[in-house]
Symmetry: C2
Subunit: 371 residues, 2 copies
């Protein structure tokens, strides 16, 4: 069997894993294909936390054909009893002869353990086939396992002259319906959405996934699931009537000495979770906030905030991607800036790498990373 | 002979006409192909004002083969004695049997006259083949002939957050070398470059075509030729030491009562031409300025100015194209705006059509027209 064949089958496993794009969190997206005598005998992908892993689905489909077969898995099979039994053991018990994996488990505590179990059972193990493509399935899971913090995407909608709203705050709508639908998908693949209390007070957004607006992928998502909404709100100024509180699953990041205050406790009584975090002169301690979100199992964090919070993420280099939706309009020189970033000289400029650029309706979507 | 054949040969004539891209002004770019018995027997294009027209070159190449042939011309052959004899007559005298033209002469005073001369001489005339593509050769000439005003391209270099300079005015360099080379080409195909005295005082630009930076197309331009540099300068504040004055070919647009002042006369003594135009509360009367430029034979005007003058062009809808070079950087919220445009509500936003978008080095070049 040539490397070319392994690559082709792994590509299929990655394709299957993407089917869990909107539903596996906090677990990673994983795909598995089982091949015997050059024929696919089983396929599976992880659909939802608490349910069967990709390997189990594929083995079940393969049945007795798994004996002597090759299993292709996008991520190292787990070696521990979690909510399901370890997949490495399932592969051994099924009599698989060879296992090809794309990436090892990013969790330093268990990385390599599943592969060792397989090798100890006499199974041939091949690593690193389409490793980069498979890692791209789970940037959030990978980063959280390695650093304890979620993968951070900051989303902005701006005009070609770099304005995100008029001076009055009016901003509906800068971008067109296709871009707004795209943002719905971005929300659906995020575990949490972070905003600031300023945005809550001025725009009163829901920050929910509206399934009716998702288009084709609507049915691939869990209809009941909403990402955790997180509000950076030092003094618990979020009104109890705010739309963002409806439907629950909201957490407030406030100053520690705000926790016991009446406004905070009023919000807690409505079911809002509270976290006391450190506040600095220029706002929330974002590093600490990201640590807390990591502990909460958040892989993918979407930031939909005003220029101040967005500016802090950029200034402190704490974002992984900036999703900039650019509308072919000018909002004028009195409009609100893209991000609050007071820079003095050209030497201070923020340099971006354009990772992706595409047309979304009349707008252009750029995915930028810090250079 | 099918329409398909005519289109193909006209495409070749248009291709030839483009060779005059940097050199024909104030004349239009014109190409000509002569075909006899399905074989090209002559080709020509207009290279430089005062020299032979495209038809003359092509007829000279065709020689006796022009008799009974078809001539393809991108623009209606001229019917008047200018600096050269009329081309319509040359075609008739050469015995051409058929003439295919893409566009008629845009000058309402003479439009159709050349075609009538040809028809009266018994020549078959076909009009409108690739008319749009041929008109795109000469937007400036076409517009000036129809309206008396040049075609206006406003050029800007801005960051993704819509800033054209730091608060201090520092702006070198927002865009990369490829974008700056592209601007050199844009200058080379322009008849005049307009800037404001504010830019002269703060940046002291030369606004010349630097042939060494043009790359491949350098030799296609007239090495001695520089576009007319025009400064909007109500009070003649341009210093006599300004770089823009070097090499001559500069015109100052000032208030009429500035014309006789010492600063204006000092500039005139250096060879600067003066035009007295009307000034309004928000700056120069741009409509009047464009009329004056049209009278001076300017087909293609490039505006390289600061946010104020650029904003006036946009606000008064007097530009034909905005060339926006966008660098993948943020310059920060304290930087200078793209254009001075005080807008109050989303209903006032300026809507652009993206006519062209392409990568130029690390930067993106957008050609925008008002929607």
């Amino acid at each position: 069997m040539s490397i070319g064949f392994d690559t082709r089958i792994m590509a299929r496993a990655i394709q299957l894993a993407w089917r869990g794009r909107y539903s596996t969190h906090p677990n990673p997206r994983v795909g598995c294909v089982i091949v015997r005598d050059d024929t696919v005998v089983g396929e599976g992908w992880h659909e939802r936390a608490g349910e069967a892993h990709a390997e189990v689905h594929a083995l079940s489909q393969a049945g007795a054909d798994a004996r002597g077969a090759t299993a292709y898995v996008t991520l190292e099979p787990c070696s521990h009893f979690g909510r399901t039994p370890p997949c490495a053991r399932a592969l051994i018990e099924a009599g698989v002869a060879r296992v090809v994996v794309a990436t090892t488990d990013p969790n330093p505590a268990v990385s390599g353990r599943g592969l060792r179990l397989l090798r100890e059972a006499g199974i041939e193990v091949v690593e690193g086939v389409l490793a980069e493509e498979a890692a791209a399935l789970n940037p959030g899971f990978m980063k959280r396992m390695r650093t304890g913090r979620p993968y951070v995407r900051v989303k902005m909608a701006a005009s070609l002259d770099g304005r995100t709203a008029m001076a009055s705050g009016e901003s509906q709508w800068i971008t067109g319906p296709q871009a707004r639908q795209d943002v719905q998908r971005l929300r659906a693949m995020s575990d949490a959405i972070l905003t600031g209390v300023g945005t809550v007070l001025s725009d009163d957004p829901s920050l929910t996934v509206r399934r009716a607006e998702l288009g084709d992928i609507g049915e691939a998502t869990d209809p009941a699931r909403q990402p955790l909404r997180v509000i950076a709100d030092r003094d618990a100024r979020t009104p109890t009537s705010a739309k963002i509180l409806r439907g629950g699953n909201v957490r407030l990041f406030c100053a520690s000495d705000t926790l016991a205050t009446t406004p905070a406790q009023d919000l807690a009584a409505l079911g809002v979770s509270l976290s006391g975090v450190t506040w600095k002169d220029n706002g929330i301690d974002l590093g600490e906030a990201l640590d807390v979100l990591g502990e909460l199992g958040i892989n993918d964090l979407l930031v939909e905030a005003g220029p101040t919070l967005a500016g802090t993420f950029i200034n402190e280099r704490l974002l992984d991607e900036l999703w900039l939706y650019q509308a072919p309009v000018f909002l004028g020189s009195t409009g609100r800036p893209t991000a609050h970033l007071p820079l003095d000289s050209m030497a201070d400029k923020v340099q971006w790498q354009v990772r992706d650029r595409r047309q979304v309706g009349a707008d252009q979507r750029l995915i930028l990373t810090l250079a």
